[in-house]
């Protein structure tokens, strides 16, 4: 029973939110709150389906769904394997939880609900698709939904941020598309597995010799990598991201920071290991150099820029630039000459962990802003006295971000560092360490403000809204993130086991 259901599940997961996106617009005229309820029902259903699918994949095997019954390489397939199901579940679960935040925290309205569902559908598509061109389509759906969600704040800065994101994001997606076109020229195929086989000399192209050396293939990698790096927001092409995160409505920032760049990084892992495979990097070591260099630079510069910020949301946004730098550096390490299972596991675990921690911090920042109006480091002075619970949550999540055990942040960084040492890329190991110190730099600034400034020393410029705008839903999101961050910190081994099948498959055939 579960098997036949699992066969269909990928299509439902992608199709359901996109279909459901139509209903808030249609029915919203009748009852304004219906959009929220439709979103809730949809995301809850998706979470359940994703959980069943994840279980089925974990117990049995990867599920391949051929859309419309057309078999690849001609048709488009959706693939739920040991990697993609976890991201599918992360997307569905996060989408559900963030709804709790928006119930009172807003934004509300039927347009918001429709676009929100569209965003989730796009993200889900990126996670589950097994087709390179299809991936581009979902990148665009995700992008367009994200642009409009940012603009939902209806403020000129938000409009500018959305426009900036739109232009840069579209150019990034286009670069990716150019790369895909090159691959299509080289292999005549768009299906990921088939392209991968064709590059190795087999597949539907069946040329007989590996194509890794072809200029077309190398150029394809360069374009795809640059395109996805833009989507992930690595330094120096990150510039859309701090604006987008800090200008978007608070709830939107939570979902953006938790999922959008995360899924782009997932796409990078997918393309790097499933399509190009380590064999490509063996022939083209410069590609590894490019990935590691960009990751390392991003990790360092992102952290430094984060230290320099005084607005909370911008600071956390720059921190994302740094954390994604670490993830990408780990991806690069895993493509190196010495296969590093721990590095790839670290990249995946840190990606998921970062989604939880960052989502939690942004939710906490939103709740704090709603209750006290504080949005800058200055205004966080003596917050521990006014909002002890929220301040404690920020502290725990901050420490987790630094990598203090027991926390998911520690597990991710630990595996990345272990992988770097294992494959003798000492530079990356050193950068993990330095970036940890820099992270401590900006987290410590926050903690110092919150805990060690007496109320009388606090600047009186703190704006208070008067009323308390914090809802149970907001707190729920924060507390859930804190609990997950700490609990998962004890489960380093099991987490590794969950992604191990995928790692074995791509690193050791």
């Amino acid at each position: 029973m579960i098997d036949s259901f699992a066969e269909l599940a990928p299509a439902i997961l992608v199709g359901l939110p996109i279909l459901a996106a139509a209903f808030p617009l249609l029915l919203g005229r009748l009852w304004t709150r219906i959009g929220w309820w439709i979103s809730l029902v949809t995301t809850l259903a998706m979470t359940g389906i994703a959980a069943v699918l994840a279980y089925s994949v974990h117990v049995n095997d990867a599920v391949h769904h051929h859309l419309g019954g057309f078999a690849p390489p001609i048709g488009i397939e959706l693939v739920a394997d040991a990697l993609s199901v976890w991201f599918a579940f992360l997307i569905a679960a996060t989408a559900t939880v963030v709804l709790a935040y928006t119930y009172q925290g807003g934004p509300r309205g039927r347009a918001f609900s429709s676009v929100y569902l569209l965003l989730i559908g796009g993200l889900m598509g990126i996670a589950l698709t097994g087709d390179l061109f299809n991936l581009f389509v979902f990148l665009e759906i995700t992008g367009i939904a994200a642009y409009s969600l940012i603009a939902a704040r209806q403020h000129r800065d938000a409009a500018y941020a959305a426009l900036k994101y739109l232009i840069i994001g579209t150019v990034g997606a286009t670069l990716y598309l150019i790369g895909v076109a090159y691959l299509f020229m080289a292999t005549g195929s768009l299906n990921m597995v088939d392209v991968s086989a064709s590059l190795a000399g087999g597949g539907s192209a069946d040329i007989g010799v590996p194509l890794y050396d072809e200029m077309l293939v190398r150029a394809a990698f360069a374009f795809i990598f640059a395109g996805l790096a833009t989507k992930v927001a690595l330094f120096p092409v990150h510039s859309w991201q701090p604006d987008a995160y800090s200008e978007a409505p608070d709830a939107v920032t939570v979902i953006l920071s938790a999922l959008v760049s995360t899924v782009a990084a997932y796409a990078l892992i997918r393309v790097t290991f499933t399509v190009f495979t380590p064999a490509f990097f063996e022939v083209t070591p410069a590609a590894t150099t490019a990935i590691v260099t960009l990751g390392v630079v991003s990790a360092l510069v992102g952290s430094i820029l984060a230290v320099l910020q005084s607005r909370i949301k911008r600071m956390i946004a720059y921190s994302s630039v740094a954390q994604f730098g670490l993830v990408v550096a780990a991806i690069g390490v895993a493509t190196g000459p010495i296969p590093a299972e721990f590095a790839l596991a670290g990249a995946i675990i840190h990606l998921i962990g970062h989604a939880i921690m960052k989502g939690g911090i942004f939710a906490a920042a939103g709740a704090i802003a709603a209750s006290t109006g504080a949005r800058t480091v200055q205004e966080y002075a003596a917050l521990a006295r006014r909002r002890p619970g929220l301040a404690a949550c920020v502290a725990v999540l901050g420490f987790a971000l630094v990598g203090v055990p027991p926390s998911i942040g520690f597990i991710g960084k630990w595996y990345i560092a272990l992988g770097a040492v294992e494959s003798e890329m000492w530079l990356v190991a050193v950068v993990v360490f330095i970036s940890t110190l820099l992270t401590l730099g900006y987290v410590a600034r926050l903690l110092e403000r919150m805990y060690f400034i007496l109320p009388e020393d606090a600047p009186s410029a703190v704006v208070t809204d008067g009323g308390d705008g914090v809802s149970i839903g907001m707190l729920l999101v924060v507390v859930l993130a804190v609990a997950l961050t700490v609990v998962l910190g004890f489960l380093g081994g099991p987490l590794f086991e969950l992604v191990d099948p995928y790692i074995q498959e791509v690193l050791h055939g």
Partner: protein, 588 residues
């Protein structure tokens, strides 16, 4: 079902009892502790040999390994632990003492049931921590001595940790190897680090310093776990079948050194503590010789020593409990008032002195025979002298406490519960002495034809006893004339103090220099942290205007967000540059 039950390490229930004893009523808590240790005995006897493997932080570890060594130690520590818990309850120990003691027992069991170096070192350090707490629990004089104890064990534990890390770096595996720790520095550091726990001569001063200090029940626990588990770890650290004869001679030296100082003590528990040094000397000698007879003798001696050394501490503890006197020369004639305690003491003393028919006789002679077979006559002689000294000092202890003169005070004997604890252990000492086969079945690597009841050993045992009695009455007047004879701690403690003081001066001197620099940096960092952009502006203002850096300068002072944003156009330029660079890199 049973497999799942067996996969739970035996120390887990003890840890649970540790937590529960703090919150439950005293009687119930101690009963649970007793129960958990009973389970340890049962577990050790019935569980089939095997391993449980786990990945911890990317290392392949074996948190649970059941083999003949863990079985033997599990039974020994479990039996004695149960008796000690009963004893602690019977002498009115508090719940907190029970909790620390059970935690200490759990850590020791984790050492014995661990299957790799990482788990072992974790448990080893936990053991040092728990035992320090157990000493501190008594408060008063125990605090200062506990501090010294902690210092010794931090140093020893760190050396072992360093040795293990070095070993893992060289071999790449955490597993126990039959070759022990890699030769060279890891082995040397490991043996010296373990030497602290074993009480190597020169590293032993914490034993007579700390063990007489705490509660009498704490002493019973302390006398058993730290030193005996270290003997087991020493076996893991040394290369098998090869041994290390220098370690064996250290054991011989410990045997002589320990009894000589024991003979000179007034404080009963200090006397017993010096005997720990001597007794662990026999174990060290056996492990150092390394033949199967020596090794099995050493492990059997570990087991026997667990029993009689704790028994002696219990008996002496009862004397202190009843008379409130620690000084031997202030006691006397107690056998009339305390016949049970006197009887228990007698059995313990005869066992430790290796009188035929008591368990010490079996294992001590196995080690001594092994020394003789291997041609280490000098070592044999050292151990023989140790044996004579043991007789002498226990005749002294027994004579002054129980026989000498009339009773100084009127006291009652042990309570029924206390008696049960002592009598059960005393019974085991006799049983294992008369039927050595019972124990030798449990002992790893015991040669099938082990027989210690030879004519020469019997003659030696009785001869030493006679020589001890005669010798004691010859040297007694001289002994009584000695005051306190300084041990090496007279040198070590001031040495450590002045070394520490010198280091403090050195460090504070350097620190003062560093401090000025760091304070400057910190002050700047603090200003920077509070207002990064403002500080940057100040910094940039020092840059000449025509420098390109000046163009990065934050626009307005005051709004403290650094205006380093790239607009859309500039981002496009950067993106193009990035694509170009990656293309160039990948294509050429």
């Amino acid at each position: 079902m049973t497999d799942a039950l067996f996969a739970i390490p035996p120390w887990v229930p003890v840890l649970v009892a540790t937590a529960l004893i703090m919150v439950l009523p005293r009687k119930l808590g101690y009963a649970l502790g007793l129960l958990s240790l009973g389970w340890v005995v049962a577990y050790s006897l019935i569980v089939p040999a095997g391993q449980v493997e786990a990945v911890f932080l990317g290392f392949d570890t074996v948190p649970l390994q059941v083999d003949e060594f863990s079985r033997l130690l599990g039974v020994g520590f479990g039996v004695l632990g149960s008796a000690a818990v009963l004893y602690a309850y019977a002498v009115g120990a508090r719940r907190r003492l029970g909790a620390f003691a059970l935690g200490y027992v759990a850590a020791t069991l984790a050492v014995c049931f661990s299957g790799d170096w990482l788990t072992l070192i974790f448990a080893y350090e936990a053991m040092a921590l728990a035992s320090t707490l157990l000493i501190w629990e008594f408060g008063g004089r125990a605090v200062r001595r506990g501090y010294r104890y902690a210092l010794w064990h931090v140093i020893g534990g760190s050396l072992v940790l360093l040795a293990v890390m070095w070993h893992v770096a060289e071999t790449g595996t955490l597993a126990f190897e039959s070759t022990g720790l890699s030769s060279g520095m890891p082995l040397l550091l490991g043996v010296i680090g373990l030497g602290v726990n074993l009480g190597f001569v020169g590293l032993h001063t914490w034993l007579p310093d700390a063990y007489p200090a705490p509660h009498i029940a704490a002493s019973v626990f302390l006398s058993v776990f730290t030193t005996k588990s270290a003997a087991y770890v020493l076996y893991r650290a040394l290369p098998e079948a090869d041994g290390a004869i220098i370690v064996a001679y250290m054991g011989g030296l410990m045997a002589v050194y320990g009894v000589v100082y024991a003979l000179l003590q007034h404080d009963m528990r200090a006397l017993l503590s010096y005997h720990i040094v001597a007794q662990v000397g026999y174990m060290t000698a056996g492990i150092g010789i390394g033949t199967s007879l020596a090794l099995s003798g050493a492990m059997a001696h570990v087991f026997n020593n667990i029993l009689y050394k704790a028994l002696l501490f219990m008996a002496v503890g009862i004397i202190i409990y009843r008379t409130d006197t620690e000084d031997l020369y202030e006691l006397g004639g107690l056998w009339r008032q305390m016949p049970i305690t006197a009887g228990a003491f007698a059995i313990g003393a005869l066992s430790i002195a290796a009188f035929p028919g008591f368990n010490g006789f079996v294992s001590k002679n196995m080690v001594m025979d092994a020394a003789l077979y291997e041609g280490h006559e000098l070592l044999w002689l050292l151990l023989l002298v140790g044996g004579l000294g043991t007789f002498l000092s226990f005749i002294k202890l027994g004579y002054y406490a129980f026989l000498h003169g009339p009773a100084t005070t009127t006291v009652r004997d042990a309570t029924p519960l206390q008696s049960i604890a002592m009598v059960s252990i005393a019974g085991l000492c006799v049983l294992l002495g008369l039927l050595p086969g019972l124990l030798l079945d449990l002992v790893p690597a015991a040669p099938a034809d082990t027989s210690v009841y030879t004519v020469s050993n019997l003659v030696k045992g009785i001869g030493l006893a006679v020589a001890g009695v005669v010798g004691f009455f010859i040297v007694r007047p001289t002994l009584a004339g000695f005051g306190h004879i300084p041990d090496i701690d007279r040198l070590l403690h001031p040495g450590g103090f002045y070394l520490g003081k010198g280091l403090v001066y050195l460090v504070t001197g350097i620190f003062a220099i560093v401090d000025r620099f760091v304070a400057g940096v910190a002050a700047w960092s603090y200003r920077f942290g509070a207002d990064p952009a403002g500080e940057l502006t100040t910094l940039f203002e020092r840059i000449p205007d025509d420098s390109w850096l000046a163009s990065l300068s934050p626009a307005e002072h005051g709004d403290s967000t650094a205006h380093l944003r790239a607009d859309i156009g500039r981002t496009m330029l950067i993106l193009t540059a990035l694509v170009t660079v990656v293309l160039l890199l990948v294509l050429f």
